[in-house]
Every structure is written in structure tokens, then in C-alpha cells.
Symmetry: C2
Subunit: 431 residues, 2 copies
């Protein structure tokens, strides 16, 4: 008995519709007509089957801050808005509710894996587990005290307990998340690495996001950020580095040699005025590049389709070279490359690959006529054109309807936090 | 009797819902509760009322080429793909069918005015008239022969007849469209100006789109493109200039002094690798800036919400200044500024303004919580969140359903042209 059968979907490279059979989370057969019984059947006539997206850098619970301080630069936005609000509000309840809103949005926009860095990640884990979405989750590790912990040792201890709790989960995997070179001392960074090595998990950090960060790092450590990370031993195939906007020639070579992974976040980098990362150069060098939205408070959404479209156009336009990146490369970066960075064989509609899939409804004026489905997905489609989402063989959305998250609960929780946060803001001036 | 009554909409600057009364195409009253009878009532509980968008530069019928040659630079894309296909296919039928697809998309994404430049504009006029959408339409004027005309004189003659036919239409207005400085001789440009002055209509042209265009113009005429236009007398308040990516300090001052209008097309400029226009500098100087999508073949859609969002983020990110442009300025540029450029008092939800409006459905995870409706519209929303569209008091879409365009006809026509164009492409190599 199959777990899922997708009937009559259009596939890239196939001139006629195909049936896709899924068992134990994987694609087991693709054929003109599959007659086997299945627990669930999705009819896909006229729809295109693509891999789902891997959002490799976010702080999903920050959905609760969406749109606040919308036009401030990174430093002001963090110091005058986000950290003030986090100091007041962050709690397991906050993280849980924010994650539920974010997960609903992520599923609706075709994402089946997200890499999260925040506080109280157990709360995110429970939401992701219930929603049936993959997640790589890590407690942010900092040198300064917050509500979560008082010292680097305490953060590391919390990270360790979290890792031990979620180490063998089928959908979730714990990650070690030292926040950044400007918030973690060399010692904290080294201890984070030790923890990741001991537990055999991935490292996920922010790096080289702004020019100010680079300047401060050079001044303090005599090295630019990626070099600094490398000198502490942190660069390697199991290290995911978000942003990587500002790098020297030497740093790019270090990234290439060590196999460290770049997570490009173009929308957040634009919105916070950080700059445009030279990702087409990274790709040309053979660096492993994947894509993330960053938190929904600096983006201001979790929409990977928008992120992918922006990435490719931004490379063409800012390098003034229409061949700087093409739609196919963009799709690869937003899908297979992300899954691969954390050892998941997904991101292709092929037998043997994990069944992480979306169906795109193309019967819309803005997607017609349809000559080139990849160009249409990358340049013309919106997340609302995603009709069905499958994660590891399980249907998370069908015909636009969420199957594992209650939309009414999402709207209720958003209202609850809006009222709380607005009543607090009433007594503060943030902008 | 009112023509339209919108009940219980959320408005910017109002803490409680408002009713909006519309008569003879205009907003005549905004109040807590309006009890007057109306021919049609739209219930807007929980939805936000915003002005609709003015798409000030497009070639709407090029929807039929959407996604073709998607990753080519401007010159190759034009010469190897678009001009080849236009040579084969452009006809009144092509222009009419492409316009219908484009108009359906434009309405669905909240646009109620588009400025079009193409061939056989009578066909676009009939579609726009039937759909009830505003349009400024102009025959492209060129020096070289096409199917449409053999000489500049013939193009000008066609433009003149078209102007005379549509001069006093309530929704449509004819425009003179010399294509560009690299496709029109100084004499053709001057004659275009004469025609516009004689008939009292707007001029609409492409200018300073690529660095190559600037270099060629300097070489040929000893002046960069905007200077060249100015020396021929073409800069003025009734001149709309699409692109304006590459300008000197002097040219910016000329634009400011003459009151000529810049139509920024950021997405097309990125995708065709033309560059990023310095629009926040233009805005700071007091230049009249509005926004356009360009044709759906180089974008690859007609989505003004996406265009607006991209514009503001692109200015922040490429200038590395989060204050380079804010969400409110972006909304103004995409709405009121566009209408104003062609003398239409629309783009605000205020008594006395034309009723060109959209309702935004915010009951979606990616729009929650909602603290700042303008930031949410600009940074988080998608065109699919637009629920209702009103143009000059007439409902063109309600609850996502098109009222004046038949969606089935749109899909049928798209299929018809896909088959024709693909069968032609089967015998050619375009990429």
C-alpha cells in the first residue's frame, strides 16, 4: 500500500502528465499510470509538480514582530526595537505562538524545511512536530545575559540539553547556533564548535552581514569575520553561515576549501541596508550556496518563492550581467542545495528522493501562457499559486487548505500578541 | 442614489471602520455609518481600503511572450527573441488577446490605470474599455519598418488617427509614443513632440535604460539621452520617461527643472541587467517619480505590489541606507504619483478623489500580526491578498472574482497562442 499517490501531475522534462507514488516518505515510482492502492490520493490535473523549498535561515517566532520598525537600519532596528521587545516579551508561550504563525505561512508558501535560531527552541520543536514540517533548530548562544540564560556556559548547557532531547527525531534535528562573531567571544565560538563536534550536529551562525561588522571584527581580532571563524576552526562542511555579504577574495577561497555553506538572505540584506551578497561569484567558485528568508520581522515574510525571484534578478541587475544567474540555478539553490546542506536527499522530483513537493496551479492570468515552467515559477509565480504541499510524503496543504495547522488559531494568536505588544508600545517611543 | 457603497472598511489614520460612498466615479463621503441607498454595496469587514495602483509603463500585449528568453540581456532578448516573434505574430488579434490576458492580471493585482506602448493600440483600447480599466495608450513610433508601418510618417499618421478616435473617452486617453532615442531620429522625435502639442496629449518614451544606450547616444549626438531629448524640446511636464537608469548630475537637474516625469521599472531593469535607477536621489531632488512594471515579457508579470516592494528594498540595499526610501513613499509613488502624472486626481482614499481603490484581505498568516498596514502592504502582502478592485467607482473584481473579464476566455486565448508560438519556435533556435 502506498502512502500517497499524486495523479496526473506535470513534471519538468516530461511532455505528458505522470503519476508519482510515495512510500515511507520517499518517491518510489514515477510512471504514466500507477494503479496501486494508496492511503491518500491527490489529483493534480493541469498542475506542475516541483520540489518544495528549504528555508535555511530564519527566526520564525519573530513573525510576532512583523512590520515593526520597518524602515530602520540593522543596528537601530535591533537595539531600539527588536531587543527592547524581546526583553519584554520573549517566553516559551511567545516562541510557540510566533512559530505557529510562521509555520502556517511557511507551509502555505511551499517550504518543508526551515533552519531556525532563537530562544526556547523546544517550543518551536513542538509546533514543527505537530505541523509535520522539517526543522533544524538551535538555541541562540550569546555572551550577554537574556531571559534565557545568564552566561555563555548556561546558553551552551541549554543548547546541549536541547540537542540530547531532539537528536533522533525523524523530522527535527538540533543544531548549535552561536549568534555571531560580534556577540560571541572566541572562547564561546570554540565551545560551540566542541559541542557540535561532540554531538555530531550542524553549526549555524550569522557572519559578515554588514560592513560595520567586518570593520569591528578586523579592529578587535585583526581578521575579517570569515577568517576569524576559520582561525577558530569553525569553517567546515557542517557549518551554515547566514548572510556572508562582505568577504575578501581570501575568505571566499577559505569557504570553498573548507566546504562551509553560505545561506544567502537577499531580502533581509536589502531591507536592513546591509548590501547585496556576491552569490553568483560564490556559485561560480563552487561554494555551496543555499537560500533563507531570515526572520519575518526583517523581510517581512517567509516567502521563499519571492526570495528566489529576488536573488536571481538582483544578481543580474547589480552585476549588470543577465547571465550572472539563471532561473534553473535559482531553483536549485532554493530547493536541493538547501536540503543537501543538512544531509537530506530532497529537492528533486525523482525516484529515491524524499517526497518534499509542491503543486503549482498555473491556471491564472499571470502564469499564462506557460512556455517555460521554471522561468514561470521563478519570475512570475506567487506563493498563493502553490496549491498543495507535501513534506516527507505527508500532505501539509491540499488545494490551499492547511491540513496540520488550524488557521483560526493562527489568526486568534496573532490578535492576542498584537494587543499585548501594542499596549506596551503605547508607553514607548520606538522609532 | 449612490453608485457604490463600501461598508465597514479599515482606513489609514482611522481607528474604527468607515463607510465610503461613491458617486459618479468619485468618493463623495467617508463616515462611520452611511445609510444612503446604493446601486451596489461591498461589505469590507476586516479589510483595509487602499488606493489602487497606477502602472505607468507597460507593453501589456507582450503577456503572450511571458518567460521566453528569460535569462538573456536586453539586446539579445530584443534582437534574438522578441523582435523575431513580433515580426511573425504581431497583429490586431495578437494585441487584443495579449491585452486581455494582461488586463485580467492587472486587475487581479490591483491596478486601475496602465500606460501602454505597442502596436495596434485600438485593440488594447477595446479590451480596456470593455474591462472598465483606465489606460493611456500610444502607438509605438519607430524609424524602421514593421508590419504596422513602413516609415516614420506612416507611424505618426497612425498615431494621429488613434489620438483623434480616442481623444474624449472617459477612461482612455491617447498618448504619443516615440519608442526611444536609439530607434527614432531627432526628426522623428521632433515630429512626435509636434503631434503631442497639437493634440494636447502626453508623450511617453523609453530613455537611458542601459549604459550602452548612453554611450551610443553620446557617440552619435554628442549628448547623453536625456540631454538629447531636452535639446529637441521634448522634456516637459507632459513627458513620461520610462527607465531613466543612467543619468548625469546635469540631466537630473534638467528633469527637475522641466518637470518631466520618471517612470521607474526596477524589476525589468534588474532582469535585463540594465542596472538600478537612482530613484531615491530623484525623489530627494523633487523629481516626479512614478512606477511601472514594463511589459510582462521582461518582468515577468504586471504585479505593481511586487514592483513597489522591490523598489523600496532595492534603494535601501544598493545605497546601503535603510532610510533611502520608506514604505509610505513607495506607496505614494505606486499610486497617487502615477495618477497625478496624467492629470487624474486619484491615489488617496479621501473625499473628492476618484474612486480607484483596492480592498486588502489581511486574514492570512503572512499578514499577521498587523501593526503597520502600510509596511504590511509594501513588505509582506502579495497581489493575491487583493480581494476587491474598484476603478472610477466601478467594481472590476469582488472577493477575488473578475467582474468584467471572463477568466475562461483568458485561459483559452493563452493556450491558443502558446500552441501557435511553440509550433513556430519548434523550427527556430532562439536561445
Amino acid at each position: 500500500m502506498l502512502d500517497l499517490l499524486i495523479k496526473s501531475a506535470r513534471l519538468l522534462g516530461e511532455s505528458a502528465p505522470r503519476d508519482v507514488a510515495i512510500k515511507e516518505g520517499r518517491i518510489v515510482e514515477i510512471a504514466e499510470c500507477i494503479e496501486q492502492e494508496a492511503r491518500h490520493t491527490v489529483r493534480a490535473e493541469g498542475k506542475w509538480l516541483f520540489p518544495s523549498f528549504a528555508n535555511m535561515h530564519t527566526h520564525i517566532s519573530m513573525s510576532l514582530f512583523r512590520g515593526l520598525g520597518a524602515d530602520l537600519p540593522l543596528a537601530d532596528w535591533l537595539q531600539k526595537v527588536i531587543w527592547v521587545l524581546e526583553g519584554e516579551f520573549v517566553s516559551p508561550e511567545f516562541v510557540r505562538d510566533g512559530a505557529l504563525i510562521g509555520v502556517a505561512e511557511a507551509i502555505r508558501s511551499g517550504t518543508t524545511l526551515f533552519m531556525d535560531m532563537y530562544f526556547f527552541e523546544e517550543a518551536v520543536a513542538r509546533v514543527a512536530e505537530q505541523a509535520g514540517i522539517r526543522a533544524g533548530l538551535g538555541f541562540g548562544i550569546l555572551d550577554f545575559p537574556t531571559k534565557v540564560a545568564k552566561s555563555p556556559e548556561e546558553y551552551l548547557q541549554r543548547a546541549r540539553s536541547f540537542i540530547q532531547e531532539y537528536k533522533n527525531h525523524p523530522l527535527l534535528f538540533p543544531v548549535v547556533c552561536p549568534h555571531a562573531v560580534y556577540t560571541c567571544s572566541p572562547q564561546t565560538l570554540k565551545k560551540s564548535l566542541e559541542l557540535a563536534l561532540q554531538e555530531g550536529v550542524y553549526l549555524h551562525t550569522h557572519i559578515a552581514e554588514t560592513q560595520q561588522e567586518v570593520e569591528a571584527c578586523v579592529e578587535k581580532f585583526g581578521k575579517s569575520p570569515v577568517e576569524h571563524l576559520h582561525s577558530l576552526g569553525l569553517l567546515g562542511e557542517k557549518t551554515l553561515m547566514a548572510h556572508v555579504v562582505w568577504t575578501t577574495e581570501e575568505e571566499r577561497e577559505l569557504i570553498k576549501e573548507t566546504g562551509a555553506v553560505v545561506v544567502h538572505c537577499p531580502e533581509s540584506n536589502l531591507k536592513l541596508a546591509s548590501g547585496v551578497a556576491p552569490v553568483s561569484d560564490y556559485v561560480r567558485r563552487g561554494i555551496h550556496v543555499c537560500l533563507g528568508t531570515d526572520g519575518p520581522a526583517s523581510n517581512d515574510n517567509l516567502d521563499m518563492l519571492e526570495e528566489m525571484s529576488l536573488m536571481v534578478k538582483l544578481q543580474k541587475g547589480t552585476q549588470r550581467d543577465a547571465k550572472a544567474m539563471d532561473a534553473r540555478t535559482a531553483l536549485h539553490i532554493a530547493t536541493e542545495s538547501g536540503f543537501k546542506a543538512v544531509g537530506i536527499k530532497a529537492g528533486k522530483v525523482e525516484v529515491g528522493y524524499e517526497a518534499d513537493l509542491i503543486l503549482l496551479d498555473v491556471q491564472k492570468p499571470h502564469l499564462q501562457p506557460l512556455y517555460d515552467p521554471v522561468a514561470q515559477l521563478v519570475y512570475s509565480a506567487h506563493s498563493s499559486d502553490i496549491d498543495t504541499v507535501v513534506c516527507k510524503g505527508k500532505v501539509l496543504m491540499e488545494k490551499g487548505e492547511l491540513k496540520t495547522v488550524d488557521l483560526q488559531e493562527v489568526l486568534f494568536l496573532a490578535k492576542k500578541w498584537k494587543d499585548r505588544i501594542e499596549s506596551f508600545l503605547g508607553s514607548k517611543i520606538l522609532n
